[in-house]
Assembly symmetry: D2
Homo-oligomer: 119 residues x 4
């Protein structure tokens, strides 16, 4: 990962929309729809691929660029959605991972050397 931080990107996206007077389009409902549309554009790249082909999409430079670009679009709308509603999505994901660690405990593995450790 890089030095770009989420708060900084979120601020730039907000400034970008404000400068173009696009805020009136950015209702939570519209941003949720746009997020879903972008997620589908990412899925479209994979829809006819076998699982094996899907694991190799980054080998072709054109497809690799398209994948990164659609992923960026998904993040852009997610951050804008969270901005207009005041959702701290990093904190929400942190909380979710903690809940899931309780909800889906790591199964005992007979072959695990750590199984009887004192942790």
């Amino acid at each position: 990962m890089t030095e770009f931080d989420v708060a900084g990107l979120q601020r730039r996206l907000a400034d970008f929309a404000a400068a173009r007077d696009w805020e009136r389009y950015h209702t939570p409902k519209n941003l949720a729809a746009a997020l879903s549309v972008e997620a589908s554009e990412l899925l479209e790249i994979f829809q006819w691929l076998t699982p094996e082909q899907s694991a190799r999409v980054m080998e072709d430079p054109g497809t690799a660029h398209r994948v990164a670009d659609e992923a960026a679009d998904v993040l852009a709308y997610l951050l804008q959605f969270c901005e207009v509603l005041g959702v701290d999505v990093l904190a929400a994901l942190d909380a979710k991972i903690e809940r899931n660690e309780t909800r889906f405990p790591v199964p005992d593995r007979p072959d695990s050397p750590n199984r009887h450790s004192s942790e």
Copy 2:
């Protein structure tokens, strides 16, 4: 926003999946499908709301929690998708914002006091 960083969350998600032996399900294609499904679950909250109602969803604590939780799910699958394909999504979004600043120039505004400035 908080002190949680994207790289740290991405690592915890990867550890979580590895500990449960879920990595075999995490093909790029499956993660793209799951991302799209989660984005639709977020949209579902808004599908019958007017624009005005959609702007007030955080006033009800139950709905506010659901919104944050679904947004977290979207981010979780986006980060896992980017992890398995080696996509740096923050860098991709930074590049996208820069391209969009050229592609959609800020329009001149007749009423802008800065319009004839020397910038």
Copy 3:
């Protein structure tokens, strides 16, 4: 509606795919993904519109054609999906409407002239 029937369209779609050797791509999973992608392309037309604007999309011939074309794509993938899995979607919808009539009873309306009728 027209004289075209669903069974006939379904057969033509199957013949079309078979003639091009596309059947190997038509797993139920791939067709479900494609159906979801096409439904998002339909939604994309509406994502930034107000409810009022969305009600007038057929006034512009170009948009009207795009709407009909995307709706046709959704139906095409739905019929192909149902074909490969042997789902009779018209019978399933008939059964669903019947269940919903029980699940969501018509509310009494104080102002309804039929309310005290003998039905």
Copy 4:
């Protein structure tokens, strides 16, 4: 397929919504969102399955019922969407198949007995 016809189902869906005063929710935009959400619920059934597992979903009665039910939901919202906008989706699909027959001609096949015929 069955004797149920699309026009009849469409009329029953319209009557159902009218009797419950749900028409005010049924803007084209909301119905397009709901259609997309239902298509994702269908995809959800398949998201972690291998192509081979996806071909066997009808073997389990519970999953088979869920598949048929979600497919019916997709058709329900597609028909309601087309109803409120006056789109004849069967005619649109007929036209689409005809265009695609020109756009994607059947390839010559070296092993085809008809290849050198006079057609």
